[in-house]
């Protein structure tokens, strides 16, 4: 009996795996846009991150409006400055728009979502249907 319990113990110990906690970001779709809805007039001011993926070089290009961004820290700094600026102007609801090409890896999109959430930006939007352009 001891042998059997010992074998079972070894089996469960070997198959045991610590899992990372899986959470989820809530992201409600707009009810008054899209098919049958009113056309979107578009925000007058925005924080837009444009991402393109070049499959031949496996290279991601990120831009904040027209400015090329090198890394996450720089992007976070730029978005933070812009958001703080809008908050100071009493416009905290100006959205952070994630405008990614269809081939951009999902991880890169979530990185920007994570930055937005870390900066407590309430209004995050996903732009739809932008084509990938080759990285320059």
């Amino acid at each position: 009996m001891v042998d059997v319990i010992f074998c079972l113990c070894v089996f469960f110990m070997c198959s045991f795996k610590f899992r990372e906690t899986e959470g989820k970001f809530d992201s409600w779709l707009p009810k008054d846009k899209g098919e049958g809805g009113a056309p979107d007039p578009g925000p007058l001011q925005e924080m837009r991150v444009i991402m393109t993926w070049d499959q031949t070089t496996s290279k991601l290009t990120r831009q904040y409006l027209h400015r090329q961004v090198k890394d996450d820290a720089e992007l976070q700094g730029i978005i933070k400055d812009a958001h703080d600026d809008f908050v100071a102007k009493n416009k905290p609801d100006i959205p952070l728009i994630i405008d990614g090409g269809a081939n951009v890896p999902w991880k890169e999109v979530m990185t920007v979502v994570n930055i937005g959430k870390a900066l407590e930006i309430k209004n995050l939007e996903f732009a739809m249907g932008t084509a990938d352009a080759p990285a320059k």
């Binding site: 906690t21 992201s27 779709l29 990614g100």
Partner: protein
């Protein structure tokens, strides 16, 4: 005579007491059995993106939610290996990214139909004043592999919106604390 019986008694006491060891083994067994996850899961084993700011799930809130989980994972249609993906690259071969509900892969058209069926089965009883129609009360949890194309998530979200599912949730892993 008296000495002999004492010697015999001493000999009997030499055998080790295994009871505490068995107790500990039982406890270990119980811990690992309870810790093992053998249930059939909605979520398959995929590498979902990490995000430090993702809120941790609250068990009490989750009870009342009707959630449909869609996994976006890499799998070739024939089951043949994909050298790009297998070597850690970003595969963008058409047809290599599958959409899955409860272990069943759906193509784009069938997923669109499935979402409509699920949305209709879980309609909110009250008409939404903004959308001016009954929307679905269903939550759509998108569990996409970190290397999956963003276009697939966009398409899935678009189909959900057309089906009347507007409560979308994006799965992310909270990284383990650094030592």
């Amino acid at each position: 005579m008296h000495r002999k019986t004492k010697k015999a008694k001493l000999k009997e006491d030499i055998s080790p007491n295994v009871v505490p060891m068995i107790d500990i083994m039982f406890l270990l067994l119980l811990f690992f059995m309870l810790g093992a996850d053998m249930s059939q899961r909605e979520s398959i084993e995929i590498q979902i993106p990490k995000a430090k700011s993702v809120p941790e799930p609250k068990q009490l809130d989750e009870k009342d939610k009707r959630t449909l989980t869609v996994n976006i994972h890499h799998a070739t249609p024939t089951g043949a290996p994909c050298p790009i993906n297998d070597n850690g690259g970003i595969c963008r071969e058409p047809g290599h990214w599958q959409w899955q509900i409860l272990g069943v892969d759906y193509d784009r058209e069938n997923m669109k139909k499935q979402l409509v069926i699920m949305a209709q089965d879980n309609l909110d009883p009250v008409e939404d004043p903004v959308a001016k129609k009954k929307l679905s009360a269903l939550f759509l949890l998108v569990r996409a592999d970190e290397r999956a194309p963003y276009g697939d998530v966009q398409k899935l979200t678009e189909y959900a919106g057309l089906a009347g599912i507007y409560k979308i949730q994006l799965a992310a892993n909270k990284p383990l604390p650094e030592k």
